[in-house]
């Protein structure tokens, strides 16, 4: 293929960047040799002193392929987390070249990353979601407030397109009552959990049955106690509240901004 006369474009390599997955402590074999990331690209470390960024090449012009990308990003961090501490970098962070990884990311933030890695070392994140058993809690709301009970009784058997004002009013009252309940219940859940965790970060969430979404950072040597505590808590609240614990995961919620 040497003789193409319009070869100017062909000779230009496809533009690529470096997708950054996370920051780790620099060490031989820190990144597993078989680790691949988005689009199956080989993952490697770009080191700077004690720390290293975990990166892989990525084409800048490519179909978004969003779901697979998210999953691949998460899997790389999962693998890294299994062997040592890792600071996750936000999904979608791409730098131009290895020099930029060092000069723009690692060098200026070296002290910050080093102390963050120390802080997170030996700790693990869990995500806890508490949701209400909606019928149970709504029944509590209706029983506690005569206005709500009356509005519900008045609107429940009417056609859906009638009594619009009453329905909005009813929903508003219920929504407020649920907010109050949520405040109280999430406070008491946290009270029961926080003695077992090193740090926590409440996450934004929504939904009718939403009670509490919180990321919990747990010392590795207390994980057994922590899980047992949550097991007991789940049992004691199970008539009204469901607890769902995901993890361990990389400490996504405990890294701040670089």
């Amino acid at each position: 293929m040497a003789a193409a006369d319009d070869s100017e474009r062909v000779e230009q390599p496809a533009e690529t960047g470096l997708w950054v997955y996370g920051v780790v402590r620099a060490a031989a074999d820190r990144v597993p040799a078989d680790l691949v990331g988005i689009d199956g690209a080989a993952v490697r470390a770009v080191e700077h002193g004690e720390i290293a960024a975990v990166v892989a090449e990525i084409a800048l012009e490519r179909p978004p392929g969003r779901r697979a990308d998210l999953v691949a990003h998460g899997e790389v961090l999962d693998r890294l987390m299994r062997t040592d501490v890792v600071v996750p970098v936000r999904f979608g962070s791409v730098l131009a070249e290895p020099a930029s990884v060092v000069e723009d990311l690692l060098e200026p933030n070296a002290d910050y990353f080093a102390s963050l890695l120390d802080e997170l070392s030996g700790r693990t994140q869990y995500n806890l979601r508490a949701t209400y058993h909606e019928p149970v809690v709504l029944a509590e709301v209706v029983e506690a407030d005569p206005d709500i009970a009356e509005l519900s009784a008045r609107t429940r058997d009417l056609p859906e397109d009638s009594a619009y004002g009453d329905r909005v009013r009813l929903g508003e009252l219920v929504s407020r009552a649920m907010d109050d309940k949520r405040d109280q219940d999430s406070a008491s859940l946290l009270e029961a959990i926080l003695p077992w965790v090193a740090a926590h970060a409440v996450r934004a969430a929504g939904g009718l049955d939403h009670l509490l979404d919180v990321a919990l950072l747990v010392d590795d040597d207390r994980r057994g106690d922590f899980e047992e505590q949550l097991e007991n808590l789940a049992e004691s609240v199970h008539e009204r509240i469901r607890l769902r614990l995901v993890g361990p995961v990389a400490p996504y919620d405990f890294v701040g901004d670089a």
Binding site: S152, R167, V174, A258
Partner: protein, 140 residues
Amino acid sequence: MSVQTTQRRGGGYLERPAPSGLADVIEIILDKGIVIDAYVRVSLVGIELLTIDARIVIASVDTYLRFAEATNRLDLYEKGGKDLSEFVGDLQEGGAAKKTSGAVKGVKKAITGGSDEDDDDEGRRPAKKSSTRRRRTEDA
């Protein structure tokens, strides 16, 4: 892989799903982690869309109507022995208030298709409902 292996230990009330579903991955990853300054970043086709889509604000009136519907689906008659006659004496309250403040919820519908959140409550209602009051919205 993509098999949900829910392990139940101890009393079995704490749900411990393996975080393998897309909804879980989104929950865990999106908008989390160290942010690299925008001026050193290179932009990647399609990525911005994903992060923007992830937050949708629902108008509060819509939320209220969903609460009202959920409340009215309850089976109060069977449960507490409450009777309509308890309430009919007090019908003078108007329905004029249509406040639209507050109650803004963030959801991730754009990505999950709203499939993960609401699908398992209905099936677990107490079995003592009378079939005439049953208003299922789910079996599609």
